[in-house]
C-alpha cells in the first residue's frame, strides 16, 4: 500500500463468487479503498486479501468521493458504486461507475466513465425506494447551483421531483467560512432547479484573524436511534433532541496580535439555516476532532494554557416532553437543552470516530486514534455530560447509570483494540455495522492499515467460545433417560402396590 488512502466505504458481499460467500452475520464484506494516486482496491475483511484492483484513468485525484448507490442485498439487481472526481484535462466532473464485487465498470458512458460536462459543487446520495430499483440517486449541484441527477433515468428524476419540496442542500466554503443553503422546491418534472434560501458567514471578516472551517460533521445517514430518551432516576424521561438536519461545524483561527488560537463550534440546522447552539474555546490549538452521533457531540482540542488535550462533550435534549412525537420538522423544531462537560485526556489524539450498530441498541463507544499508534475504545458513559460533581455516587445516580465526575479520563491497557499492533500516523477510522447487533467493524488507516471487530456491549447475541455444548447435550440426554427410567419404575411400583 504505497499510496495514501483517500476514502473508504464498505459494501456487503455478493454470493456469485465462491471465495466471496455471504455469511449469516454480515461480517464478510469488501472494503473499497481509493488511494491518492487514483488506484481502487477491494479488500476482503476476513482475510485481508486484495480481491481486485483497478487504476482510474484521466482523473484528478484531489477531491475524490465514493458513493455506494446500491448494495448487494437487492439480488438479482447488481450492486453499484460510483466515484466522483474531476477530469484531469478539463476540470469538469467525471463519474466512474463500477460493480463493487467484481470491479467491472458499469454500463454507463465509455467503460464506466461518465463525463458530466459541468463542474460539481456538491453531491449527495438521496434515499432509495422500489421505484428507483433501490438505486440511491446521486444529486449533483453544478457551479451555478443547478441540480442534476445520476443515473439520469425517468424513475430517479421523478423520485427527486417528488421529494423536492422537502429537499435541501448546503455548500460550505471552508476557506471563507460561508455556508449556503439551497432548496429544490421550485423543481418541476422537466426542469430541476434550486434557489438559495439562507447564507451564513461564520468567521469574522476582520483581517487580523485567520479563521477557517476545520471540521464539518453530520450524523451517519444509516444510524438508527433505538431509544428516544433517557430515563432519569425518578422514572421520568428526558427526551433526546434528534435533529436529522443538524450539522456540527467547527471553525478555528488565530488572534494575530497575541497569537492565541481559538475554536468555535456551531450546531447548524442546514434546512432552516438556524444556529441551534454555539460554543467557543479560547487559547486552544489543533488538532481538532469532532464526533457527532444521536443527540450528542464529542470534540477534542489542545489546551494551550494547561498544555493538555481536552475532550468536551455536549448532549442535547428536548426536555421532559416531546413537542412532536411523530415527526421532526426543522421549521418547528424546539430549542434544545444542552448539557456540557469537559475532560482531560492524557494522550495526543490523531483520529476520532464513534461506533454504531444496525439497530442502535448497542452502547456507543468512541474510538480514539493516538499518536503512539494505539486505538483506544472509550465508552461514551465516561464522556457523559450528565456526570455530576459529587464525592460519591448516590443511589439515584446508580439507578440512572451515571458516574460521578472525574476530570481525568483513563487509558486502560485492555481498552486498546489493536494490542501491540500499533498503527502509525492514524489518519482516519471508519466504522460500519455488521448484521450482528453487538458487533461493529473498524477500519483504521494511516501509515499502516488495521481492521478489527469491536463489541461495545460485549457479544450479547453470540454464544461464548467456551460455551459447553457437550455438557448441555449430556445433561439433556441424561434428563430424558431419567424420565423414562422413573416412568418404568413408577409403573412397577404401582403394580407392586396393587398386589398388597
Amino acid at each position: 500500500m504505497a499510496g495514501q488512502i483517500n476514502f473508504v466505504r464498505r459494501d456487503a458481499v455478493g454470493s456469485n463468487n465462491r471465495a466471496l460467500e455471504r455469511d449469516r452475520f454480515g461480517l464478510h464484506k469488501l472494503i473499497l479503498i481509493v488511494t491518492r494516486p487514483g488506484k481502487l482496491f477491494a479488500m476482503d475483511t476476513l482475510s485481508g486479501r486484495i480481491v481486485w484492483q483497478r487504476l482510474l484513468k484521466n482523473v484528478n485525484t484531489d477531491k475524490l468521493r465514493l458513493y455506494v448507490q446500491r448494495t448487494s442485498i437487492h439480488y438479482p439487481l447488481e450492486p453499484q458504486c460510483t466515484i466522483l472526481a474531476k477530469s484531469s484535462t478539463s476540470k469538469q466532473g467525471i463519474l466512474f461507475v463500477f460493480h463493487p464485487i467484481t470491479g467491472e465498470p458499469g454500463n454507463f458512458g465509455s467503460e464506466g466513465y461518465v463525463n458530466l460536462g459541468f463542474n460539481v459543487q456538491q453531491a449527495l446520495l438521496l434515499p432509495q425506494n422500489e421505484e428507483t430499483e433501490y438505486i440511491k440517486p446521486l444529486l449533483l449541484l453544478d457551479e451555478s447551483a443547478i441540480p442534476h441527477v445520476f443515473p439520469p433515468t425517468e424513475s430517479a428524476l421523478s423520485h427527486v421531483v417528488k421529494m423536492s419540496d422537502n429537499l435541501f442542500v448546503f455548500v460550505a466554503d471552508t476557506k471563507s467560512c460561508v455556508l449556503r443553503g439551497y432548496s429544490l422546491a421550485k423543481s418541476t418534472a422537466d426542469h430541476l432547479s434550486s434557489a438559495p434560501v439562507w447564507q451564513l458567514q461564520l468567521c469574522s471578516s476582520n483581517d487580523v484573524v485567520e479563521e477557517e472551517i476545520v471540521s464539518m460533521v453530520s450524523r451517519h445517514p444509516e444510524e438508527k436511534v433505538f431509544s428516544q430518551g433517557r430515563v432519569l432516576a425518578d422514572r421520568s424521561v428526558l427526551y433526546k433532541y434528534l435533529n436529522p438536519n443538524m450539522v456540527v461545524v467547527a471553525t478555528a483561527g488565530t488572534n494575530h496580535p497575541h497569537h492565541r488560537g481559538y475554536f468555535n463550534l456551531y450546531l447548524i440546522d442546514v434546512v432552516s439555516g438556524a444556529v441551534v447552539f454555539s460554543t467557543s474555546h479560547r487559547r486552544v490549538q489543533s488538532p481538532y476532532h469532532v464526533v457527532y452521533a444521536e443527540n450528542w457531540i464529542v470534540y477534542s482540542y489542545y489546551n494551550e494554557k494547561y498544555r493538555r488535550t481536552e475532550l468536551s462533550s455536549l448532549e442535547l435534549f428536548e426536555g421532559q416532553t416531546q413537542s412532536n412525537s411523530t415527526a421532526f420538522s426543522s421549521f418547528s423544531a424546539p430549542q434544545p437543552l444542552v448539557d456540557r462537560q469537559a475532560y482531560i485526556y492524557p494522550a495526543h489524539i490523531t483520529a476520532m470516530k464513534d461506533t454504531f450498530s444496525e439497530q442502535g441498541m448497542t452502547a456507543k463507544h468512541i474510538l480514539l486514534g493516538l499518536s503512539n499508534g494505539w486505538i483506544q475504545e472509550m465508552p461514551r458513559v465516561f464522556l457523559d455530560p450528565r456526570r455530576p460533581v459529587v464525592a460519591a455516587a448516590t443511589p439515584e445516580m446508580r439507578e440512572e447509570g451515571i458516574m460521578p465526575y472525574l476530570p481525568e479520563l483513563p487509558i486502560p491497557a485492555e481498552a486498546i483494540v489493536n494490542y501491540n499492533q500499533t498503527v502509525f500516523n492514524i489518519k482516519k477510522i471508519h466504522v460500519t455495522p455488521s448484521s450482528l447487533e453487538s458487533t461493529a467493524m473498524v477500519f483504521a488507516y494511516g501509515l499502516d492499515i488495521f481492521f478489527t471487530h469491536v463489541t461495545p456491549s460485549r457479544t450479547f447475541d453470540v454464544l461464548n467460545d467456551d460455551f459447553e455444548y457437550g455438557f448441555i447435550a449430556l445433561v439433556l440426554t441424561g434428563l430424558t433417560l431419567a424420565s423414562f427410567i422413573t416412568k418404568r419404575l413408577a409403573s412397577k411400583k404401582s403394580l407392586r402396590q396393587a398386589w398388597k
Partner: protein, 172 residues
C-alpha cells in the same frame, strides 16, 4: 384404595370385594342399646337451630376475605419493597388468591344460604376486591406498575423526518 380394589375385582375373578356388599341384605339385629328411632328424633330437634347456625356460618364465609386484610397488611410490611424472589412470590399470591376466589364464586355462593344471602355475597365480593386493591397497592409501592413515562419509552417510534438535507464542503 377402594377404587383399586374395585379395579382388581374386575380383573381377577377370584378376588372377593367386601366393600360392595349390598347393605339391604344385612339382617343382623341391632347391637344392644341402639335404637334407630332415637337417632331420628335427635336429628329432628337439631333442625330447629339450623337456620340461625346456617346464617352464622354463611357470615363466617362472607367475612373471611375481610378478616385476612390485617394479616395481608402485616405481611406486606414485613416483606419490604425490594424486588427479589420472596416479595414477588408474595405479591403473586396476593393476586392469585382473590382472582381465583372471584372465579369460583358460584361454589362459594352455594354455601351462602338463608335470608341474608345477597348481603353476604356483596360483602364477600367486596372483601375480595379489597384484597386485590391491596395487591395493586403493593405493586405500585414496589414500582411494578407501568405508570411512568419511562415505562412506555421502548414503544415510542422514532420521529419521521420531514425535510431531507445533505451537502458539505465545496468540491470546486
Amino acid at each position: 384404595m377402594a377404587m383399586a380394589n374395585r379395579n382388581t375385582a374386575k380383573k381377577f375373578k377370584w378376588s372377593i370385594d367386601l366393600s360392595n356388599r349390598n347393605k339391604s341384605t344385612c339382617d343382623l339385629a341391632s347391637p344392644p342399646g341402639y335404637l334407630p328411632s332415637i337417632a331420628t328424633t335427635v336429628a329432628e330437634s337439631a333442625k330447629e337451630n339450623d337456620s340461625s347456625l346456617l346464617i352464622k356460618r354463611s357470615w363466617d364465609v362472607a367475612l373471611q376475605p375481610l378478616k385476612q386484610v390485617p394479616m395481608n397488611l402485616f405481611m406486606m410490611y414485613m416483606v419490604g419493597s425490594s424486588i427479589s424472589i420472596f416479595p414477588i412470590m408474595m405479591v403473586g399470591m396476593m393476586f392469585v388468591r382473590p382472582i381465583r376466589a372471584l372465579f369460583s364464586m358460584n361454589q362459594t355462593f352455594k354455601m351462602l344460604e338463608g335470608t341474608q344471602a345477597i348481603g353476604q355475597i356483596l360483602v364477600y365480593i367486596l372483601g375480595q376486591l379489597v384484597a386485590l386493591g391491596l395487591a395493586l397497592y403493593k405493586c405500585q409501592s414496589m414500582g411494578l406498575l407501568p405508570t411512568h413515562s419511562s415505562d412506555w419509552l421502548a414503544f415510542i417510534d422514532p420521529q419521521q423526518r420531514i425535510e431531507y438535507s445533505g451537502g458539505g464542503q465545496i468540491l470546486l
